[in-house]
Amino acid sequence: MRRVAVIGVGVTKFGLHDRTSAELFAEAGADALADAGIPASAVQALYYGNVVGGETEHQLHTGPQAASVLGIPSVPTTRFETACASSHAAFRHAVMEIAAGVSDVVMVGGAERVLNVSTAESTEYFAYASDAVWEQPLGLTFPGVFALIARAHMQKYGTTEAQMAAVAVKNHKHGALNPKAQFQKQITIEQVLKSAYVADPLKLFDCCPFSDGGAALVLASEEVARRHRKPVWVLASAAASDWMLLGDKRDLSRVPATERAAAAAYRQAGLGPHDVDVVELHDCFTIAEIVATEGLGLFEAGAGGRAAEEGRTSLGGEIPVNPSGGLKAKGHPIGATGAAQIAEIVTQLRGEAGPRQVDGARKGLTHTLGGNTATVLVSLFGRD
C-alpha cells in the first residue's frame, strides 16, 4: 500500500450562513486547493459527506452537485452518509483509493446546512439516524441517546454533571481562540449547570449547536506530496460499527465502536494512545467527549470526567483534546465535521494553529462518531 498525505485543507466559518451546503463546500474546496498549491485539474476524484441535504435542502445527488458548484464537474464523485461521521468515512475511502494506486490526488469534502429550518425540524431530521421502527416512534432524540449514555456512566463511575460541564467550559475556552468557531466566547461551570435541561441529565450547554458549514481536504500520494510544503502523513484510518438499537448495546457507559476503531488504527500505525500529542474528537455532547477519551485509551474507563475537570485535556495539559473548540464551540455541520477535525489536526501538526497551537505536536488523532454510536472512525496523522 502507498503512503498517503494531506497536502491541503480548507474550512469555512461555522455557524449561520445564507448559502447552500454546496456553496459552503465549494469555498472550502477552493481554499484547500489554494492551500495545497495545485490546480483543480489535478483532482481525480471527490469523496463527499452530506447527511440531511434531502430534508433541509430538498437536495439528493449531493456529490456531483457539490463538485459542479466547486467547478470540477467531470471527476468521479461519491457521497457518503454515516450520520455525523460522513466525511471521515469519505476520508477513509479516499485514503484507500490513493493507497491502492488508483489515483494520486483526491479531494475529500463535506458540508451541511440546517439553520434554514426550525430546531424542532432539525431535531426530527437528526433523529432519522436512530431506528425508524424501534426508536423514532418513541420520540428519541440525539440529546436523548447521549443522555442515556450519560446516566449509565454516572451510575457506573460516579461521573458528575459538573465534570461534564468542565468539558463544555474547556471547549469554549479553546473555541475562543479559533476565528472559524461558531462560539468564540468563554462560559463558566455555573452557566452550564444553570442552563435548561434538554434531555436529563444533559443541559443546553452540554450540547453542540446546530451549524452550517463546509470543509475540504486535498489528499495525495507520497510522490505528489513530496513536491508540496509540509505534507502531513496519514498513519492510519480505521472504521468500526456497532449495533444500531440502543437496547442491543450491552453497556451504555461505553462506545465499543470507538474502542474497536481505535485498536485498529493504533495497530495500523504501530502507535499507542500515549504517542499522540493532540486529539480532535467527537464531542457532540459533553459526555461523548468523556466516553471517547476513555475509549481511545487516553484515560482508564471511568476516569474521563475527572481528567476533564483536572484540566488534563486542556491546551497546556498532558493531552490537549479539541483545541479547535470541538463540536461544542467550533460547531457541528454534520457532513463537514470529520473533514474539519482532520483539517485542525493537519494545521496543528504543521505548527500553524496560532494561539491554539499545541506546542511541538508531531502526532495527532481524529475521532468521529456517527449517530447512535453505531459508526466510529479513527485516524492517525504524523509529520516528517
Binding site: 426550525s118 430546531t119 424542532a120 425540524e121 431535531t123 426530527e124 433523529a127 421502527v133 424501534w134 426508536e135 423514532q136 416512534p137 418513541l138 420520540g139 428519541l140 432524540t141 440529546p143 436523548g144 443522555a147 442515556l148 449514555i149 446516566r151 449509565a152 451510575q155 435548561a196 435541561y197 434538554v198 434531555a199 436529563d200 441529565p201 444533559l202 438499537l245 440502543l246 437496547g247 442491543d248 450491552r250 451504555l252
Partner: protein, 127 residues
C-alpha cells in the same frame, strides 16, 4: 427461502395485543430482540419465537424536554432502556410513572403503547 423468525410488523401486532416477543437461537440458545436474520453469536439461521414476561428494571433513562416535531406536544416525556428479566434489553417510553421517581434499577413492567396515529410502540409502566 426460510420463513423469517418474526417480522417487525408481526412483532408490533403482538405488542398491540399486549405481548412482548423475543427470538431464541435453536442452535446456541442466544436470546435476541427481532428482527435478526442470523444469530449474532453463532451465525445460525434457526430462530424460534419466545414470549417474554415483560418484567425488567431500568438500565438508564432520560427525560426528553426538547422533542422532535412529531412529538412536540408530548414533552416532557421519559424514555428508558429496560433490562428485561430474560436477559435482553429494549428501549421504551415510560408511562404512568412520575418523572421525579425514575431511577436506575427501578422495576418496571411492559405496557403496549398506542400512539394517536394508532402506531403501536413499546411502553413500560409501574411493576
Amino acid at each position: 427461502m426460510t420463513e423469517p423468525s418474526i417480522t417487525v410488523r408481526a412483532f408490533f401486532e403482538r405488542v398491540r395485543a399486549g405481548q412482548l416477543v423475543a427470538i431464541r437461537c435453536e442452535s446456541c440458545g442466544e436470546l435476541a430482540i427481532p428482527p435478526k436474520e442470523l444469530c449474532p453469536k453463532c451465525g445460525a439461521r434457526a430462530w424460534r419465537q419466545e414470549p417474554l414476561g415483560g418484567d425488567g428494571t431500568i438500565a438508564s433513562y432520560t427525560v426528553i424536554r426538547v422533542a422532535p416535531r412529531a412529538h412536540a406536544g408530548e414533552a416532557p416525556y421519559a424514555l428508558a432502556v429496560v433490562a428485561l428479566k430474560e436477559g435482553v434489553s429494549v428501549l421504551g417510553r415510560i408511562v404512568d410513572i412520575p418523572l421525579e421517581s425514575l431511577a436506575v434499577g427501578l422495576p418496571v413492567r411492559f405496557r403496549p403503547r398506542i400512539a394517536s396515529d394508532h402506531q403501536a410502540s413499546i411502553g413500560f409502566g409501574p411493576a
